[in-house]
Symmetry: C2
């Protein structure tokens, strides 16, 4: 992990040092207690509990998954000198696809075969882990994931064809089978 920061600091070329420092700050925050580590800690705390609320589940995945997706999306934007409005739109996009990604992950754990998934299917159920389908049911979960992806794509509508690659990535999240 230390090398990741060293790498970003030494190997990012043709970018102002000011932008680079902003990106390093974002990466640090996304990985630390305010992001990945915080989400993972709560996730471990909740293992085996049967009364995990949707709010807690949202907290876990916003931190565990969305924070890193957000950092990835926003780093590119910061390096390209995006405005505050651009960053706001991209934040909405990233948070939505982060949560959608996790919901789809939970759905696939139930509906996918082991061969398709490339990892053990049904392991959330086995571990009695709180998931979106266990709280909302399968159909409602699919609906929510699609809604999040639609909103993510809408947030970038204003960029026209320039937004197509990011919008395609959003679609891939609900379309994927593993």
């Amino acid at each position: 992990m230390a090398y990741a920061f060293e790498f970003v600091a030494t190997q990012t070329k043709g970018i102002s040092a000011e932008c680079l420092v902003q990106v390093i700050a974002k990466l640090g925050k996304a990985v630390g207690a305010a992001g990945l580590v915080g989400g993972q800690a709560v996730d471990l705390e909740c293992e085996g509990k049967t009364d995990v609320s949707v709010e807690t589940l949202d907290f876990i995945h916003k931190h565990k998954t969305s924070a890193l997706l957000e950092a990835s999306v926003l780093s590119g934007a910061v390096l390209a000198n995006a405005t505050a409005t651009d960053l706001q739109r991209l934040t909405t996009y990233a948070q939505n696809i982060g949560l959608a990604f996790q919901i789809v992950d939970d759905i696939l754990d139930i509906t996918s075969t082991q061969a398709e998934l490339g990892k053990t299917a049904g392991k959330d159920l086995d571990a009695q882990k709180a998931t979106y389908p266990s709280i909302w049911g399968l159909e409602e979960s699919k609906k929510k994931a699609q809604q999040l992806v639609d909103e993510a794509k809408e947030a970038l509508e204003t960029y026209g064809v320039l937004a197509l690659p990011l919008q395609a990535l959003a679609d891939f999240i609900t379309a994927r089978t593993h």
Copy 2:
């Protein structure tokens, strides 16, 4: 650890972003496989071995201890816009006190009482750990530590009174009893 990078990136004030990026690169390198992690890995590899050479012991401590001391000393210098010559002198200073610190640590493990040391004395011997005194003997180890500290202080002589705080820190390393 991620927060450390975030903190440096967001809380360092009144410094050019260029200098800050250099410091972040140095910190990343000092902590990663080229520094602390690398030294610790070799240290663990060597546990229980009776034929550890002085070269290996030097490698371990240059990476485990000196790399972080070097990063601490050089970060300040970089932030103050030090020249390449300044950085070279400070590198000599830092590497020398890093190694001296470790030699003195090994000596204290043998000569100090538990009360003085604040941690269990004699635990290197118990663990059959290769140390400088186990290779060189106690007197020779003391001589080497003093020599490293003297050279560290000499490297900064040219700065006159401005060097006194760093030179006093070097002296503290050999004078300490715990």
